[in-house]
Symmetry: C2
Subunit: 467 residues, 2 copies
């Protein structure tokens, strides 16, 4: 509702104007206050007064939330969240006007069904799931927003890519190829382990990354890369000022042809970035089977990580290290070996979990080895590569983003996941766009104000035309 | 109830005996009359009169069932089965005393829950699922049998292995190693394609075989082989009179330590047999990703199988065949190439399905190429290898089974899957064993009469002591 709607001219002659300030208080419920939520929560808290928001933050760790909101008692409250308590979840959602789910993606379905049934808007940073799609029609009919893929990747990638695609199209150009890469990495100044990697987000997702089959289009042809060789078929991506990165294909790129309006593009690929050499080393785990999450190893705490490694190797009389070298053949070298040794894989390090899938046991080790230490800075790198035709000429445009975190809590990951979501929710609540049902930030009304505010906050792409 | 219980001596002196013949009619419901059910159905039909059974056979194809039972109208009936019609399923189960589910394994859960609720016994040839385990307690409390893993593999393998394990133990011996292999193959006289393979059972299971991670114990150590290399880490198994076979590790062998009573065995492996060379060729599909069943390729009928193959290969300017050879490196040879060429993979053969996962598209091709033709005979091969210690000596015993089918309908597969199940149900109904809850044929009361009758029917193991 516009400000001027509330100005009632009582008397034209004397211009006595009566202004009724009507406050629309919005109650925002944030479920999940984990690693990626810090910037999102900060944004809501610091903007709460201006926009008359009341923020409720629900998390299993209520105490941790309380310490975060201590300076904002007047506009925020912490509540305990229990994923198994359906009645509690429902009553919390009933109280809210807008729900933000920062829960693991698998749990969005339940929350989304509650929201639509109870008439509440919902936003997540996760991929649009089948659950979400199934709710689209009902949400639209009730004028409810189901905002998804509005974090970093997916999120900022969609927004920034669509901005350039629309600009090229508005100039009369035609996009023929689109590649987009993103990685949550560690900043050069904090890069002190041979993997060049530390966890700035859900470790489980890093360990399971790439499972399934990557699907993309290359030179007009459908392309598939299954998990068993996803870390071997990599390309090298150069980012000005930051050097080279490994890039491997990520999930289903083909499904984005339509939302991006690139239905007859001949190359379409989305990929994930890692420091050079990471993929060759991670491929050892894939080839061994150490990232399998489909079965549990019992009494795992009776084993060492060296035993675990050996259990995936063919039998032989040599040492575990020698057997691994023989098994990997040309897929191993001194650099890979240094990475494995850094993880103490040959040092008979005991496994601490009583039971777990190979992936869980590996994650438990990595969480210790790849921890962001106090003062450590993470780094987000994103790069889009556009090929397009304009007035008969073939052109190439590269757009890159690098964001460095402040410290191990205020990470670049938390900023780039949380801010686009928070900004877009604000834009919706303040009436900057009126879209309902399942939405992702590929439409101008959503991405334009989002990118403008992100730039003000220092999250800004650099564009380069390539010959 | 014993015959003599019904003899009532009316007058001792004159020995006038009155015999009351009490008929206990059992109503048996068989759900699913597909490929593997023919011998099971024949057995029930031909034994129905003797045991006062009435057989109801439910299948989506009611007509096909009617032709099978035409000579048994007095003891059998055909009914149409619709997997989505819960009320129909329930009413059919309500009518029965004993239910045999020959449905795909995933559908046993629903049937089992109905059976236990309605107080009916159930038998399947499939692996014990979590659904089954969850029903164990309730079934036991109601004196209901939930018989599982009572076909060929699992089934005859359990029975025949346990017989020997118990014999060794009864002689005071100790089993130190156990390996067991089984394959549903094609008989030498019908082996006329380079793969040495034709479908004698569910083609889908053949295409997806090996997915997951194989788990076993070798020389006292846990061993895991993930799907990506299951067809490369094979061993060669020799069966007297039938030559060599490829063997790859199958699923979770470790879980059978306890049911087999071999808790401190140092080697425990269950494996699958294929003709020599099959695994090296099938590995091409695994490495490419062609057996993936997790996503659908849309508009597949616009592609040829050569296009499909190419979509899994890295880009390049050479022919699809040349690219495949370069991609596979030392994992391909002339024999493998002959197998791929037999499938017309380089011949631009059109895909017939409108949509399907890579696995479904491959299956569609193989169903045509690997069809059991009229008069074709299939072959079941099973081999157990026992290592044991007896009176200080280290011994090895090999027990092998070969069954050749009669023709493309009365297959060795149908016999070896259906007969152990049918025989065991008969033994239960005639009171030969009284066990309830989840049971598999590892106990003497079940396996002994089963193996005896199978021998009478020509399904007989040969044992050889090895030096």
């Amino acid at each position: 509702m516009d400000f001027w709607d509330h100005i009632i001219c009582l008397d034209n002659k004397f211009k006595v104007i009566f202004v009724a300030e009507i406050i629309f208080m919005s109650k925002i419920l944030i479920i999940g206050a984990g690693r990626s939520s810090s910037s999102l929560i900060d944004y809501f808290l610091s903007n709460a007064k201006t926009h008359s928001w009341h923020i409720t933050i629900a998390d299993t760790n209520k105490q941790a939330v309380e310490s975060k909101i201590s300076k904002y008692q007047d506009v925020a409250a912490a509540v305990a969240f229990d994923v198994h308590n359906v009645a509690l979840r429902e009553s919390m959602i009933k109280e809210a006007d807008f729900v933000v789910s920062m829960l693991p993606a698998l749990m969005h379905g339940e929350v989304a069904r509650d929201c639509v049934r109870l008439g509440k808007h919902l936003a997540t940073a996760s991929y649009v799931s089948q659950d979400m799609k199934d709710l689209d029609k009902e949400a639209k009919s009730k004028n409810l927003l189901l905002l998804n893929e509005c974090g970093l990747d997916p999120g900022i990638d969609h927004a920034s890519a669509m901005k350039i695609i629309h600009e090229i199209q508005e100039k009369g150009g035609k996009v023929t190829g689109f590649k987009s890469f993103c990685g949550g990495l560690v900043a050069p100044e904090s890069n002190d382990n041979p993997w060049g990697y530390k966890f700035s987000w859900n470790p489980r997702n890093v360990v399971l990354a790439g499972q399934g089959t990557a699907q993309f289009i290359e030179n007009g042809k459908l392309k598939f890369i299954p998990y068993n060789r996803i870390y071997t078929q990599i390309e090298t991506i150069k980012v000005e000022g930051y050097g080279n990165f490994d890039a491997y294909a990520n999930r289903d790129s083909i499904g984005y042809k339509e939302p991006y309006g690139l239905t007859d593009v001949s190359t379409m690929l989305r990929g994930t970035l890692r420091m050079p050499g990471y993929c060759k080393a991670w491929n050892v785990f894939v080839k061994l089977g150490l990232t399998d999450d489909t079965y549990k190893i019992k009494n795992a705490d009776a084993l060492t990580y060296t035993d675990l490694l050996e259990s995936f190797l063919p039998k032989g009389n040599s040492s575990v290290k020698e057997k691994l070298v023989a098994f990997m053949g040309s897929d191993i070298n001194a650099e890979v070996m240094a990475k494995l040794e850094y993880l103490e894989l040959f040092a008979n390090r005991p496994i601490k979990l009583k039971e777990g899938s190979p992936a869980e046991l590996l994650q438990n080790l990595l969480e210790e080895k790849w921890l962001l230490k106090e003062g450590d800075k993470d780094m987000i790198v994103m790069q889009h590569q556009f090929e397009y035709e304009l007035k008969g000429a073939h052109k190439k445009l590269i757009s890159s983003l690098v964001v460095i975190g402040d410290d191990e809590v205020h990470t670049a990951m938390a900023k780039t996941v949380g801010l686009p979501l928070a900004i877009t929710i604000k834009n919706f609540l303040t009436g900057k766009f009126k879209l309902y049902g399942v939405q992702i930030p590929t439409v101008k009304e959503i991405y334009e104000p989002m990118l403008t505010e992100l730039e003000e906050l220092g999250i800004r792409f650099t564009e380069t035309e390539v010959a």
